[in-house]
């Protein structure tokens, strides 16, 4: 009976010691120091990545400003062209025979386009 109890205590103690050892190894308290000392280039790369992120943010802000300005100019220009097209004068323009005679002559330059039967 006494031996049986002693074996139980010994088994329980062995299990506790086993799990404590496992937890100690899993925590690997020596890891940070080793990594920090292992590769200083990693820290350099981290600093470089941070600089690139900051630069990207600056470029993005600049692009946003330029695109906003472009959209304003585009809207203004579209409004101007729409106003010109909405006015009655351009509608009538092609209808009225133009007073300016065509100016055409044979030349030797390389053509930029062609005319053909349509």
């Amino acid at each position: 009976m006494t031996d049986h109890v002693a074996r139980l205590y010994a088994t329980a103690l062995a299990i506790v010691v086993f799990f404590l050892s496992w937890a100690g190894v899993a925590a690997h308290p020596w890891g940070h120091e080793t990594e920090a000392k292992a590769d200083p280039r990693m820290a350099q790369l981290d600093r470089r990545a941070e600089k690139l992120r900051q630069r990207q943010a600056r470029v993005q802000r600049k692009l946003d400003r330029r695109f906003a300005a472009y959209r304003v100019a585009l809207a203004r220009r579209q409004a101007e062209i729409a106003a010109v097209q909405a006015s009655p004068a351009p509608v009538a323009a092609p209808s009225a025979p133009s007073v300016s005679a065509p100016s055409v002559a044979t030349v030797s330059a390389a053509p930029v386009t062609e005319t053909r039967s349509s």
Binding site: I81, V84, A93, T106, E114, T115, R116
Partner: protein, 287 residues
Amino acid sequence: MERHAFHALGTECELLLDVEPSPDAVLALALAEGEIRRLERLLSRFRSDSELSRLNDAGELEAGDDLLAVVRLALEARERTGGRFDPTVHDALVAAGYDRSFEELAVEGAGSPAAPAGGAVRVRGRRIGLDPGVRLDLGGIGKGYAVDRAVAGLATVGPCLVNAGGDLAVAGVPAGGAWPVGLDTPAGELTLGVAQGALATSGRDRRRWRADGEDRHHLIDPATGRPADSDLVTVTVAAPTAVEAEVAAKALFLAGEQAAAAEADALGLPALLVTADGRVRLAGGLA
């Protein structure tokens, strides 16, 4: 040089703008393309929902600005050319077998007996009325009108050229002094320098098909209602606008070589005639 090409009006369209690349240039080119496509939606006889098709179906219509303008131009042209240009050839074209857009047209198809042209078209205010059985085809003149409109819009940005399958107009002088435009002839390629105005070419060398075992082409003689039997193959004419060039090219084609040369000389319309026997003849002061 900014260049923009696209397919519209049943042909290849090309916009040239002699300016440095800029957002304004891109926008102007896009608007010019939009204008051409808008006019195609209004004036095409191949679209059942076009304003022209609604007029042809109903026989009368309260027309919008553009259809009204093109119909008036077409009627003036009919008057001016003594009927050689006539917008009422719609049924004659269909009878000849040209009853759908040329891309969809079968190489060999069936035709119908020739249909007469020359029916009455009345314009009162904005209302256009057609006599029973009269339908309009505004294909060529509509293309010229679209070119004139597009070039007027692009000209606000810089020197430009608009070419819709050979009907072209320019505005402003490019850096080289004139717009060099190529033209295939039996004598080789000629280049015409266009500093002002428009060019159009009409001919029976393209848009050809066979129906009932015979060759057909799209240039209808309104007097017979059949594809014109001319001793010319192509006529290229310069005029102040693309509409006028288009009308003149068709009218001179139907006139035949001798009358066409005499008329071009009398009107001072620079013209290049290619005859059926392969000769190239310049007229109207073209040199």
